[in-house]
């Protein structure tokens, strides 16, 4: 399709790389964070890094919802799925994520729990309608791209008067995560992570718009360029960031004009606002408890809130000592810094969430970087 293939054109990529090479200031370094795991994968899959001048470094961000889900919240989902009356419906990635005590939803399913994988959130509703005798719980995770669909489910469940459907809400918000990175001691004090600018997410921004980034672009003086998920989009966004940094500007710019408006998708936003409210604090894997960074279901929809309906409990557990996921999520370490990367921890036998998800940094490194680089032609 023209609107996919057109943005993967190799000759245009070569030309953009040439322009970029002429535009960078050789006297300085550019550390750019791609927030979103979708960008991480596009960058690796198309070898975008190989086209960048050596003084541009890409830092991988925490934009992988499966990766940032705190282990106690996954443990609680597994416990819920083990209840004999419960059918738990979840997006596929989540099933293989290792929880504590070497458990996962997939293992729970093998042991008899009714866990189902959905491609569309609507499938959860269909299961609830088809099985009125079951307590159907939708395990909702994701950033703003996914949240409106969950809001729609809750409203539909209410309209249909479904008494056997609820949502276990783990939705998180992007701007809070970006701000926490900028506020983290690694960035502010220790200087371990340097982030000069952000490649902003495409589809999250299609929903929330570009406006929410304006505050911290100005406050923290870091430019943000919202970019599409194709390789030409990423290259162009890198150019736009380099141009801003060279000129000493820190603005929000939109490269993904075909999908993002400044005000975003108002209809989706109003559905989200109707059903969800911000939690005062939410626990992220790797980033800790972040204020106003997660959503919960409003009390008007309490009957559809699995946390209330099943009085779910969360117990702190120690992280696997060898797994470096938390540091990788913060951008402090690279997957290759982890002792078990590619040996003990592989996509087939993942130890950490970053190896599971198609958006995790470890999975991207493993898929595209474990073989030696092809010789230059």
């Amino acid at each position: 399709m023209r609107y996919i293939r057109g943005f993967r054109d190799g000759a245009a990529a070569a030309a953009l790389a040439k322009l970029l090479a002429a535009e960078v200031d050789p006297q300085r370094e550019y550390h750019l964070m791609e927030f979103c795991g979708g960008h991480t994968h596009a960058i690796f899959r198309y070898g975008v890094e190989d086209l960048l001048p050596g003084n541009i470094r890409l830092v991988h961000g925490p934009g992988c919802p499966v990766c940032v889900l705190a282990v106690p919240r996954l443990d609680a989902a597994i416990e819920l799925a083990r209840r004999p009356e419960v059918t738990l419906v979840s997006y596929g990635d989540m099933l293989r994520v290792p929880a504590s005590r070497r458990q996962s939803l997939l293992k729970a399913r093998a042991q008899g729990a009714d866990v189902r994988m959905a491609y569309s959130a609507l499938e959860a509703l269909e299961v609830a309608v088809a099985h009125p005798e079951r307590e159907v719980v939708f395990f909702a995770i994701g950033f703003e791209t996914t949240t409106p669909a969950t809001a729609y489910l809750v409203l539909e469940a209410q309209r249909l008067g479904l008494a056997n459907f609820s949502v276990y809400c783990n939705h998180v918000v992007t701007p809070a995560a970006i701000q926490s990175i900028l506020d983290s001691p690694e960035v502010r004090e220790w200087g371990q992570v340097r982030v000069d600018g952000f490649i902003g997410p495409s589809h999250v921004s299609a929903v929330i718009g570009s406006r929410p980034y304006e505050y911290f672009a100005q406050e923290y003086q870091r430019p943000v360029v919202i970019a599409g998920f194709e390789p030409l989009d990423v290259l162009q966004a890198v150019r736009m960031l380099v141009q801003q940094l060279n000129a000493g500007r820190a603005r929000v710019e939109n490269q993904f004009t075909r999908g993002v408006l400044r005000e975003g998708n108002r209809k989706a936003q109003s559905l989200v606002a109707e059903v969800f409210e911000l939690r005062s604090s939410f626990e992220w894997r790797g980033l800790g408890a972040l204020p106003y960074s997660g959503l919960r279901i409003k009390s008007a929809f309490a009957e559809f809130d699995a946390e209330r309906r099943f009085a779910m409990q969360f117990q702190a557990v120690p992280e696997n000592a060898a797994c470096q996921c938390p540091a990788i999520i913060r951008g402090v370490k690279k997957p290759t810094d982890c002792a078990i990367f590619g040996s003990v921890c592989t996509p087939r036998n993942p130890i950490g969430s970053c190896m599971v998800s198609a958006e995790g940094a470890c999975s991207a490194y493993y898929k595209y970087r474990r073989r030696p680089e092809p010789a230059a032609v």
Binding site: A11, A15, F44, R45, V66, L122, A149, Q236
Partner: protein
């Protein structure tokens, strides 16, 4: 998780449902999150829902810009080598 794809609306089924076609496979998606669409419109689809409309005019502008850059610099090489996982 946030991956989404642009698709063309093949048929409007009513009641906020449309049919799309990707690589010969037809499926049904919900347009409950966006304003009304018509056959031939492009939308960006994520997990069974259209999350936004694809603005064709803007897409064409971006493509024209890339074409122009490629044309000016006269590069005939293909710099992208997708790696198979």
């Amino acid at each position: 998780m946030c991956l989404a794809v642009p698709v063309r609306v093949a048929a409007v089924l009513g009641n906020q449902w449309v049919e799309i076609e990707v690589g010969g496979v037809h499926s049904r998606i919900s347009t409950a999150l966006i304003d009304e669409v018509a056959v031939g419109d492009y939308v960006i689809v994520h997990a069974g829902f259209a999350i936004t409309r694809l603005d064709i005019e803007e897409a064409e502008k971006s493509l024209a810009l890339f074409d122009e850059i490629a044309g000016h610099l006269g590069e005939a090489v293909d710099a992208l080598h997708p790696r198979l996982p």
